[in-house]
């Protein structure tokens, strides 16, 4: 007999279910319980960089908006630094870089305000184009879906991005690029996530 490897196995995932809001956004479930809910302010008041809004929908395989999704966001600041212990003190006071957002129960629309991140280091000395990491959970999603949001006004950086270039099918790369626009003088990016179908968004096994 060889020696036994003593790694533990990860706890298996289960769907977040239809009532995920009770736990992670109780105000949306219809009641007020915590002094403060977490994740509504991604960038904080002091973050440098361009203030942006991102909006979209999550679309299922029938073409219908999914109305009970919860999305979490993780991003670097405008200087390309994540608010993580190894970088303590290097981000603006109040910048957490993490947020969570839920869809409107009637329309399936979601949206959040943040700052546009800067490029961040990639593997092997490469540079990654500015991006947000997204994690999507909902009823019917058995294990959280990881994807990324890139920015349409960064076409040069996107073309060199090592992660986008991992995607063999060039026509699928566009599913990760949010389209820049403007509303009432403010920058607005549109990003629809397709769970299935010809426009299926690229999801990652990270």
């Amino acid at each position: 007999m060889v020696q036994k490897l003593d790694y533990l196995k990860e706890t298996p995932s289960q769907t977040a279910g239809p009532y995920v809001h009770i736990g992670l956004a109780p105000g949306a479930a219809g009641f007020d319980i915590y002094d403060q809910e977490l994740g509504w302010d991604i960038a904080g008041p002091n973050a440098a960089g361009e203030r942006i809004r991102v909006e979209g929908r999550v679309i299922d395989g029938t073409g219908s908006p999914v109305k009970d999704v919860l999305i979490e966001v993780w991003q670097a600041n405008a200087a390309g630094i994540h608010a993580h212990p190894e970088h303590a003190g290097e981000v603006e006071d109040g910048f957490r870089g993490w947020g969570r957002v839920i869809t409107d129960f009637e329309t399936g629309e979601w949206g959040f305000d943040t700052v546009k991140p800067g490029p961040v280091p990639g593997r092997n000395g490469a540079t990654q184009a500015p991006h947000l990491n997204l994690w999507i959970v909902a009823r019917g999603i058995n294990i959280g879906l990881n994807t990324r949001l890139y920015f349409s006004d960064e076409s040069e950086a996107n073309a060199a991005d090592p992660v986008l270039n991992l995607i063999e099918w060039e026509n699928r790369r566009a599913t990760l690029v949010a389209v820049r626009g403007e509303r009432e003088g403010k920058t607005l990016y549109r990003f629809d996530i397709h769970l299935q179908g010809p426009q299926e968004t690229v999801f990652f096994d990270i």
Partner: protein, 242 residues
Amino acid sequence: MTKPGEFYQRDRAWHPPAHVPDYKTSVARSPRQALISLENTVSEITGPVFGHTDIGADDNDLIHNYAQTGQSAIGERILLHGRIFDENSRPLPNTLVEIWQANAGGRYRHKKDTYLAPIDPNFGGCGRTLTDDNGYYYFRTVKPGAYPWRNWVNSWRPAHIHMSIFGTAFAQRLITQLYFEGDPLIHKCPIVNTIPDPAAIDRLIAPLDMNAAIPFDCLAYRFDVVLRGRRSTLFENRLEGN
């Protein structure tokens, strides 16, 4: 300064697949293209950090955190406790654990839940806490009831509590559900049975823990969680260009 290491790959055969026809809602919500395998970058091996200023001192007491003064939630009182580890058996201190659940009658306090069982005016149904230095957490709550849901005509969920855990990196993010030892509904449930390996299902069943039960107060159930483990050394294929 050391950089955090990347994670061991996730065992996708151990987790439920996206598309499980017996769990009907998964059919239209499951990606059909293969996931793109991505070696971790700094964007995946970092994650948010939470502290005691983020949460309230009583947020982990569901018996009282929504009850009127002097009142408490109705139901079988339980202590739900355990530890959070990574795959290297290291406890994860200071990690955020959030739970949500139905009340003792199987009813959720949610504007979308219309089940005929009553709302408990003294029960909200959510709690959160940070693990201590040993990765230990606990909640006081009531055991949730089973409830019907629309899958087959007569489908009932086993009693369960939803749990969300952060760990130290976005790549460790996990939501799961825990079940209670001895519940005959567990193995009939199409959501439980999205998990292909019976040994993996067993990992979600919390045993009755009489050693932790408090006399004349509450029973106890134990639920340990394992999040993904990190490599302890950086590889030659450097993560960052430094």
